[in-house]
């Protein structure tokens, strides 16, 4: 199943890229299509953050992951590069679990 998911995502993402470069602009240039394509990643990334940080199976919990997220937020406010943001989240959560 995992391999099927990887290949499906690979083909699908490639088709989205080639569609933008190939399909007559009039079809994709409709404002509603552009708005939705633009908003989808925002809604999904936000949802992914929420689930990743608060979900433990079917339950909502608050644990070291939230501290990790807050550390990432601080790093972003300080304009740190991506890798530093990710490391800040990981190290903060790891430290809290050690305590």
């Amino acid at each position: 199943m995992m391999w099927a998911a990887i290949i499906f995502t690979g083909i699908g993402c490639y088709l989205l890229k080639i569609a933008g470069l190939s399909v007559p602009a009039a079809m994709l240039k409709r404002p509603v299509v552009q708005r939705i394509a633009d908003l989808l990643p925002v809604a999904l990334l936000a949802a992914l953050i929420g689930v990743q940080v608060f979900a433990t199976g079917p339950e909502l919990t608050v644990d070291a992951r939230l501290a990790g997220l807050l550390a990432a937020l601080l790093a972003l406010v300080l304009r740190a590069p991506f890798i530093v943001v990710v490391l800040a989240a990981a190290l903060t959560a790891a430290l809290i679990r050690l305590l």
Binding site: L28, V42, A43, L44, I49, Q52, F82
Partner: protein, 251 residues
């Protein structure tokens, strides 16, 4: 592809090498976060081979992180794949914007499409000529491709040898990675509303639906806001200023 075959006048060699150098710098900076993808992916339970296949075949950071993020929370592979696919929609908009500028046809366009992502768009969209845009697109796209895949392999091997991913906070790293991907888009008011509603929908569904479904359901928020709001050109195309490096390094 050489600049000489471009429909515009040939590119000045000095400008050409400056654009290529910038592309390589961006590739190195982006490759660095391929390490975090590799480590997070094996922590989510994928094998090293599967992790590397994702970087080679999908080659879009946000979609790859989304797929392994859904898997990490216990979601079905299919739910992860759909989430990854929906996150890839922005690349379509980039292609739309770049098509007249790059003006490739046939196999060249088919090959170039795989390199279409935030970084290659940013390093080509504001160039003055087709020749300069093509050099920016190809140098950045190829540099990111090479380093992203190498870094993925390195991160996956390192992640596998770490042992328990929770002890290193790798589960918390995923949330941090998603926030970093979302952050540049949160300057816009409508995006802020969309993000808050997206979280609310997903979290409210966590207790009631199988893992993976809450994230997919948040797509409804994007659909609703897209249909019921109005603006002529909402697309926020990344530019050189949005990249962590490369943009400032002009000779």
């Amino acid at each position: 592809m050489t600049a000489a075959s471009s429909p515009n006048s040939a590119l000045d060699p000095v400008e050409r090498s400056a654009i290529i150098r910038d592309g390589i710098v961006v590739g190195v900076a982006t490759g660095a976060y391929g390490i975090s993808f590799g480590a997070i992916s094996v922590a989510a339970g994928l094998t090293i081979l599967q992790t590397c296949a994702l970087s080679l075949l999908v080659f879009t950071g946000a979609s790859q992180f989304a797929l392994v993020g859904v898997i990490a929370t216990g979601g079905a592979p299919l739910a992860g794949a759909l989430t990854g696919l929906l996150l890839g929609t922005r690349n379509m908009l980039y292609g739309l914007r770049l098509a007249p500028l790059l003006s490739w046809r046939g196999w060249r366009r088919a090959a170039a499409a795989h390199l279409l992502l935030d970084e290659s768009t940013a390093m080509s969209v504001n160039r003055e000529s087709t020749a300069a845009a093509r050099v920016g697109f190809l140098s950045t796209g190829l540099a990111v491709f090479a380093l992203w895949n190498l870094a993925t392999l390195g991160g996956a091997i390192a992640g596998e040898s770490l042992g328990d991913p929770r002890a290193y906070g790798l589960d918390a790293a995923v949330g941090g990675a998603f926030l970093a991907l979302l952050w540049p888009r949160l300057k816009d008011r409508r995006n802020q509303v969309c993000a808050v509603l997206g979280v609310a929908v997903a979290l409210s569904l966590v207790p009631a639906t199988p893992a993976g479904v809450p994230v997919l359901a948040a797509a409804v928020v994007a659909l609703a806001i897209g249909i019921f709001t109005h603006s002529t050109d909402p697309t926020d195309i990344p530019t050189r200023d949005d990249l962590p490096s490369g943009g400032e390094r002009h000779s």
